[in-house]
């Protein structure tokens, strides 16, 4: 049985145990409810059965709870254990007191403490008192619960025996009930009988207590995985059930009279023999099976052991084999060593007289030779060294073995330990070892030595000492290193030069990291100097410095006179090396808290034409800084500075070029550069906008070809370029591609700077300025008319009044209708009828009518003129211009003069209105007046044209961003330039005398521009018709 299924089994026992506790507590509880509610079905089960007494029920409730509380193994909480044990103790006490009552026959008053038992209770010796065997069982099981975790030896567990005993005691009345044998139930007149559910509950409780702890006592056997466990789990319950069944069969058969007691006994003995025999056979079979399994396992084990043994023998043979080979090799070695020794003896002789520095030690590491070249290298005389073991003094600051010492001992591991990978077997001398290393203590600044050590053997081949030769390779090493650093630096500068897209900060950061790397430093910084060399501005720190530094709010700007040691490079204007930074110095001014600790430091001034432009520093190299480092740092930083300078110059040029380009492009003028031949060299944005051609399209072409506006000015421009004379503010008009007249100011500047020849053309479109100027003139004129009219009006109107009134009087006083006239005529003896006839026939009445009509016209002129001076008292309102146009066209169609003289009905009216036009803030009457005036003018113009072309008046309404555009155009004869320019001038008219006042258009212009803040213009040419354009703002401003 494996671990998992055993765990599952134990788990099952635990579930049974917990279930038992709950069932028993439940039974106790139910019976107590029976007692409370007097329910016989709960207390007695059947009416003629004895009741479970109330105390029994309480004891069960307590025991059940105790089992449930104590079931955990090991106990989980002390409180739980204490409470469980308390419950068990109470149940025990209840049993013990009841037993005491039975024994002493003294009622202790506990029997009916809670419930009164019926006087007619069956099988009850004392009312309410539990059966004595029940009491004994509570004592036993209470003890079993208390002692659940108690047990001295592996097998002895009192709890188990107590539970089993209780099981047995309860079994007796239970079988009694089962078989229906009342004597078994145990009732006598002295003792109360055990109730059926009491006995059942005891069976469950004792089983639960047994299953509570499965890893101790006999229960560990029951739950064990082997055959024993199986037998216990299978046979124990089987045997009990079988025996109970057999007992019942026997009893039932006997009662039924199948056999007598004697014969029954023998029959059932036989049956038991058969059954037990069968069980024993079954057990034997199980045991047999298990034995076979075990035997098979044993056999496997033995086989495995045999295999192992064979392998051991094999290994032993192999080891012996290799031992033999080793012995042979050792012998061979000895021979080789012999040969070597001889060769070494020879070598030794050579070395003694060699110019190569060397020393020899004997077997005891004492120096026996210290030759002259070595004396020179180390500065230690042979006399002081010979006979001592102080050879290390020449090379190392503290005592340690030299290569020769290590070789003498033959400790290769030690060699690795002291020299690391620097030491290698010599390629020249067999058995010798060589190494290259730096000795900082030798000479002034340390020395690089190549050294080789070999053992020395005596004539017998035994090791008698070791020799070590040394060669100073410092110069070679230094040269190699310098060459390497030069290469690295040039490579860095090359890369720096290629970082064309990098920012200045990226360049300096890169240079600084390279400087740190080249000088084998840990940290570095770069500060720029101001113009007068008084202030340093920290610009870059190396990454490592940044990561180590914890100074809060690092200062950036350092006045040079406040700087400590690092400012010395500026003050002394040369590199400064401080190899032992810990030595106190009056130059140092200390660090802020959190500063990177500095052990060594070196910095340099970066010079540009004798001026210090920056300070670069590095620090914390493992070895002392030297000339080579200052050289590398200086060259790198000066290279970086040159690259930065070049970059700055380039940036400045690029910036200036972009700036100038921007200036030229942002000018609202057309600027065109041309060379002496007139070919375009520059072309600004405004030029591209005017012509629709980009610089690339026009470069190199003749300016006359790409600026059609300049046709007619070409000769003037060429002459100006030729003679180097500026041409200033030439104003001319030219039609654009839409045939609109545009006005331009042209300037030509010949270029006079060195090396550039040619000129710049500047062309400004001044059309709108010209138009504004024209309009200003008009307004001025009209304002003066208005002022004049205001002063004049009264003086004219009074005489006009007299004239008109006089005419009316003449007409009336010559008429026949007035009685007074007749009266006066009669008095004078005149026939008034004849007088009237005379006046009519001589046309006098017509003259008078003429005077009246001309007088009225003069009055109208005065009134119109006054319109210029009158302040706008008009009513501004939202007006639908479409509707206004329709009103005007209706008025025009009904106008007597138009109908009669200009045949308005024959004119085709075209309406071109944009849809959804917003209303316009304006004075409806005034605008209608303006429009009517324009339509009348158009009709009048159309009357004078060639009759073969159908006359058309087009009224167009269109939306502009902030204006409504009204166009009234006709296909009449149009105007020439002179007339067009004077169209809005007061009193200017092309009509016959008496047809127009010469004020219609100027009043309209006044209404639109002054009163509505709009614009009004006219486009026309001879034979092209005329187009009046009014632009009214959607919202009147101000």
């Amino acid at each position: 049985m494996n671990r998992a299924s055993q765990d599952k089994l134990i788990q099952r026992f635990r579930i049974v145990s917990r279930g038992a506790g709950m069932i028993v507590a439940l039974v106790g509880g139910m019976v107590l409810i029976g007692w409370v509610g007097d329910i016989t079905e709960l207390t007695n089960i059947l009416p003629d059965y004895v009741a479970m007494k109330a105390n029994t029920a309480i004891a069960f409730l307590l025991s059940g709870i105790a089992l449930w509380l104590l079931r955990e193994d090991p106990p989980t909480t002390p409180l739980r254990t204490t409470m469980g044990r308390a419950c068990a103790l109470l149940a025990l006490m209840l049993g013990l007191l009841t037993l005491a009552e039975y024994v002493s026959n003294i009622p202790l008053g506990i029997d009916e403490a809670l419930f009164r038992d019926s006087q007619s209770a069956v099988q009850t010796s004392h009312p309410g008192r539990m059966a004595p065997n029940s009491a004994a069982n509570f004592v036993l099981l209470g003890l079993a619960l208390l002692l659940a975790d108690f047990g001295h030896t592996r097998w002895f567990r009192p709890s188990e025996f107590l539970a089993l005993t209780a099981f047995g005691i309860a079994m007796l009345p239970f079988t009694g009930y089962l078989y229906g044998v009342s004597s078994l139930v145990g009732y006598t007149h002295r003792y109360t009988a055990m109730a059926i559910h009491t006995s059942a509950a005891f069976l469950v409780l004792s089983t639960g207590i047994l299953f509570m702890r499965t890893n101790r006592g006999w229960m560990q056997l029951v739950t064990s995985g082997g055959a024993a466990g199986l037998i216990m789990r299978l046979l124990f319950p089987l045997t009990v059930i079988m025996l109970v069944v057999l007992g019942w069969l026997r009893l039932a058969g006997e009662q039924a009279g199948f056999y007598t007691s004697e014969s029954g006994t023998s029959v059932f003995v036989l049956i038991r023999i058969v059954l037990i025999g069968a069980i024993i056979a079954g057990v034997a079979r199980v045991v047999h099976h298990l034995e076979r399994v075990r035997d098979a396992a044993q056999e496997d084990l033995e086989r495995a052991n045999r295999g192992l043994e064979q392998r051991v023998q094999q290994r032993t043979r192999e080891v012996e084999e290799s031992n033999r080979a080793l012995v042979e090799e050792v012998q061979h070695r000895a021979r080789v060593e012999q040969a070597l020794r001889e060769s070494e003896s020879r070598l030794q002789a050579i070395l003694h007289g060699s110019p190569v520095a060397q020393f020899v030690i004997d077997r005891d590491h004492s120096v026996i030779s210290w030759n002259r070249p070595l004396e020179e290298y180390t500065g230690i005389k042979a006399e002081t060294m010979l006979g001592t073991s102080q050879q290390w003094r020449a090379f190392y600051p503290s005592e340690r073995p030299c290569l020769a010492d290590l070789l003498l001992e033959g400790e290769r591991e030690q060699m690795r330990q002291w020299y690391g990978s620097k030491v290698t077997p010599s390629e020249l001398v067999e058995g010798a070892y060589e190494a290259t290393d730096f000795f900082p203590n030798l000479g002034d600044a340390g020395r690089w030595l190549y050294f080789m050590a070999a053992v020395i053997r005596g004539p017998e081949g035994d090791v008698i000492g070791a020799v070590e030769t040394l060669r100073d390779i410092t110069d070679r090493k230094r040269a190699e290193e310098a060459r390497y650093l030069d290469e690295q630096r040039l490579d860095a500068l090359l890369r720096l030069n290629q970082m064309t897209r990098a920012s200045m900060k990226e360049l300096t950061d890169f240079a600084l990291e390279e400087a740190v790397r080249l000088t084998k430093s840990k940290i570095g910084y770069l500060a720029f100097m101001n113009e007068d060399e008084s202030v340093l501005t920290m610009y870059s720190w190396s990454r490592s410095a940044m990561s180590q530094c914890t100074v809060q709010e690092k200062p950036i700007v350092y006045p040079v006179r406040d700087t400590g040691l690092w400012g010395e490079a500026v003050r002394q204007r040369r590199p400064v090396i401080t190899n032992d930074y810990t030595v106190p110095s009056p130059l140092k001014k200390g660090f802020p808290e959190g500063h990177v600790p500095i052990l060594r430091h070196m910095n340099i001034p970066v010079m540009d034409e004798g001026r210090i432009v920056a300070v670069a520093g590095v620090g914390n190299k493992d070895e002392p800084y030297d000339e080579s480092d200052t050289r590398q740092l200086t060259l790198l930083m000066e290279g970086m500075w040159r690259i930065l300078q070049r970059r700055r110059t380039e940036d400045a040029i690029r910036h200036m070029r972009a700036y100038l380009q921007n200036v030229v492009n942002s000018m609202p003028s057309v600027l065109v550069g041309i060379d002496l031949d007139g070919a375009v060299t520059h072309w600004n944005r405004e030029a591209a906008r005017l012509t629709g051609m980009e610089e690339a399209d026009v470069k190199g072409r003749d300016f006359g070809d790409v600026l059609p506006q300049l046709q007619g000015q070409l000769e003037k421009v060429r002459a100006a370029i030729r003679e180097g004379q500026a041409l200033e503010n030439e104003r001319f008009g030219a039609r654009n591609s839409e045939q609109d007249m545009r006005f331009y100011d042209l300037m030509v500047y010949p270029l006079i700077a060195n090396g550039t020849q040619g000129a710049v053309l500047r062309l400004d479109d001044v059309t709108s300025r010209v138009q504004i100027e024209e309009m200003m003139v008009q307004t001025e004129k009209m304002m003066s008319v208005g002022g004049l009219a205001a002063g004049m009006a009264h003086e004219i109107n009074n005489p006009l009044g007299g004239i008109l009134q006089a005419c009316q009087n003449i007409e009336r006083r010559t008429s026949l209708d007035l009685a007074k006239n007749v009266e006066v005529a009669q008095a004078l003896g005149i026939d008034l009828g004849l007088v009237h006839q005379y006046l009519r026939e001589r046309g006098i009445l017509e003259f008078v009518a003429g005077i009246r009509s001309d007088g009225a016209r003069a009055a109208r002129i005065v009134s119109d003129m006054l319109a210029f001076s009158r302040r706008s008292t008009s009513q501004m309102a939202s007006v639908d211009l479409g509707e206004a146009v329709e009103t005007v066209l209706r008025l025009a169609a009904n106008d007597y003069d138009l109908k009669k003289q200009y045949d308005f009905r024959n004119i085709q009216i075209v309406r071109d209105f944009e849809s959804n036009l917003p209303p316009v803030q304006c004075d409806k009457t005034k605008i209608e007046q303006v429009l009517l005036n324009l339509v009348k003018n158009a009709a009048q113009a159309l009357a004078t044209r060639d009759k073969t072309i159908a006359p058309v008046i087009t009224v167009r309404l269109a939306r502009e961003p902030r204006h409504l555009r009204i166009e009234v155009s006709d296909n009449g004869p149009g105007m020439d330039e002179t007339i067009r320019r004077r169209a809005f001038e007061p009193f200017f008219t092309t009509k016959e005398v008496g047809v127009g006042t010469g004020l219609g258009l100027s009043v309209s212009y006044f209404i639109i521009t002054r009163q509505h803040k709009g614009t009004m213009s006219v486009e026309s040419g001879p034979g092209e018709g005329s187009r009046f354009i009014i632009r009214l703002p959607f919202r009147a401003e101000g």
């Binding site: 205001a790 009006a793 009264h794 003086e795 004219i796 109107n797 009074n798 005489p799 006009l800 009044g801 007299g802 004239i803 008109l804 009134q805 006089a806 009316q808 009087n809 009336r812 006083r813 007035l818 007074k820 009246r852 007088g855 009225a856 009055a859 005065v862 009134s863 006054l866 001076s869 009158r870």
Partner: protein, 123 residues
Amino acid sequence: MRTVLLVDDEITVRTTLGAYLEDDGLNVLCAASAEEAIASLDRGCRPGVCIMDMRLPGMDGHDAILALHARLPELHFLIHTGSLSYGLTDDLRAIGITEKALFRKPLSDLRPLTDLVRALLTP
């Protein structure tokens, strides 16, 4: 028949308008200045309507109306002016003069004016 007081410094206006009113059967009293008009009232004249020119030598029409009104509150006023920019002032409105009574020179037809005069004289 009631009297119309006609105040105008222009003699042609005075005579032609006076003639027209007389032809209409009205009694016309002419004055060439404000002062003359005031004097006529002081003499005891009691016109029903006054036609007043506004721009007069000496006292102007505006002050004249106020002066005449002070002397003869039941007198109705018509204004007949050559100034196109003239507008009624509030003190004149206060004594009952309305836009209807404002006539601008030159009048090519006098009928509307005489119609109003007659209407005002009719009790």
